[in-house]
Amino acid sequence: MVDFETLSDLVKLARERDCKIGEIVWEYEAEVEGISKEEVWNKMVKHWNVMKDSIEDGLKESFELPCKITERFAGKFLNAKRVFLDDFMSKVVARALAVSEYNSAMGLVCAAPTAGASGVLPATLCSAAEKLNAKEKDIVLALFTASGIGLVIANKASIAGSEAGCQAEVGAAAAMAAGALVELANSTPEQVDHAVAIALKSIMGLICDPVAGLVISPCIKRNAFGAVLAFLAAEMALAGVKSLIPADEVIEAMGEVGRLMHPDLKETSRGGIATTPTGEKIREKIFKGDF
């Protein structure tokens, strides 16, 4: 029986068996659900297809954001003249924005780990796969890696904005993506641990403060930042940069920060940018049905 509670369990198992963390998680799921590994694999492929479609659908012009409180920016960003970022990173950002905008408009997405953070994994993995010429099987395996990391975060901390703020949603997504990216780039299991730790501690403390309660502002742009952060953490870990604090302890700390976070800053829209003068004005307009 393959089982794990922590990231270090996963690293240890991958070391012992000389395999990827993704393979451990794949086997775990088959055992815990009592289904064949093939069935589990096919299920993940289905989820990946929804992720890919959400990028494509999210870049189409056929939808608007609810209440039209703001315009869409993914396409605009994709086609803008580059000033600082290279084409690769620009595409990552545009894709994360696209999926997130599509999600806001009640489009079909794959929660990863939540819908509010659903732009991070498709954008990072799709772009990384193009860059590395990775095959579908490599991406699917990386999704298993990501989901193993997410499972530890969900059980040791939280993946709900209402429990622990945005650090538990976009933060968890960025940590999952960072770990998946390094493993996609053929890292060691220990580098996965460092990538997760670096990503999660760099976004720790982020509150959940949706303007008027809508998953639009600041959620959409935070997905883009989560995606960029994942690449930065992955690049660091691949370069041999180590986290002083192990990932498991960072995860526990994130959960504790979530518990300490005031309820006004946990998805209730009673703090942060939701209660700025502009945020309040938008809320009033929506409740009056002015949009």
């Binding site: 509670e5 998680v25 775990y28 799921e29 815990v32 659900e33 299920k43 993940m44 289905k46 989820h47 929804v50 609810p66 599509y102 999600n103 806001s104 408009a105 009640m106 489009g107 079909l108 997405v109 794959c110 929660a111 990863a112 780990p113 939540t114 819908a115 509010g116 659903s118 994994l121 999704l143 298993f144 990501a146 989901s147 193993g148 997410g150 499972l151 969900a154 059980n155 939280s158 993946i159 709900a160 904005g161 209402s162 429990e163 538990a168 999952m176 949706p210 008027a212 309660g213 809508l214 998953v215 639009i216 309820p263 946990k266 998805e267 209730t268 829209s269 009673r270 929506i286 409740f287």
Partner: protein, 224 residues
């Protein structure tokens, strides 16, 4: 024991946006309420508590919970038009906000459903993140259903031997029990059994359990 066991609760669900807790979770709570009613609802009172009360309009929780009550799944694009569909199908809906108290999860919904014959059920469910839910109360009885497994629920007289009568029927049909819970509001009145099982429970099994004279209501639930 892990709070979350399957990785497809992390990567997934595949769902209509924008919020796994406020949209997908709300769909699932609505869908379970519909299954517990077991018939076509004509009236629904939906009460939002906590964070749900603050933000249900923005996250489409209103459309989501109604979509669930209509029987839609989390990935059904008809959720976007659920309020219009409900109107067409003659389902009268009332939305309210409520403060159930601090012991309830911030994302909690109370649903009261009624069918044309006057049968009324009341469900309280919380959306605990990532589309995962927990049903904490059915018709006033405490429970902890996740909606992830096949389950049998029954309201019956609070008498000795009731659980044995029900589980004997399950055993006869070779249905394995994964988890079971019995609760009651006061001694000697009515009790509530919820039994999570490994296999689908057929209409035949439900029919046999319905025949037990102390059983007032029985429903077989599917994973939602």
């Amino acid at each position: 024991m892990k709070k979350v066991e399957s990785i497809f609760e992390i990567i997934g669900p595949i769902m209509v946006g924008p919020s796994s807790s406020h949209t997908a979770g709300a769909v699932r709570i609505g869908k379970i309420a519909r299954e517990i009613l077991g018939t076509k609802p004509v009236k629904a009172i939906i009460l939002f508590h906590g964070s749900f009360a603050e933000t249900f309009r923005g996250h489409g929780s209103d459309k989501a919970v109604v979509g669930g009550i209509l029987g839609f799944s989390t990935d059904d694009l008809r959720i976007r038009k659920a309020l219009e569909v409900a109107e067409r199908e003659g389902l009268k809906i009332e939305f309210k906000t409520v403060d159930l108290g601090e012991e309830y999860h911030p994302n909690t919904i109370k649903i009261i459903l009624e069918d044309a014959s006057g049968l009324k059920i009341q469900v309280i469910g919380s959306s605990i993140g990532g589309g995962n839910i927990i049903i904490t109360e059915i018709n006033g009885f405490e429970t902890d259903l996740s909606g992830d497994y096949y389950a049998l629920i029954a309201i019956h007289d609070d008498k000795p031997g009731m659980v044995a009568k029900i589980t004997t029927i399950l055993a006869k049909h070779r249905i394995n029990i994964a988890k079971m819970r019995v609760s009651r509001i006061k001694r000697g009145a009515l009790a509530f059994s919820s039994i999570e099982v490994d296999h689908e429970i057929s209409k035949e099994v439900v029919g046999e359990i319905e025949k037990i004279k102390e059983v007032r209501l029985v429903r077989a639930l599917k994973p939602i």
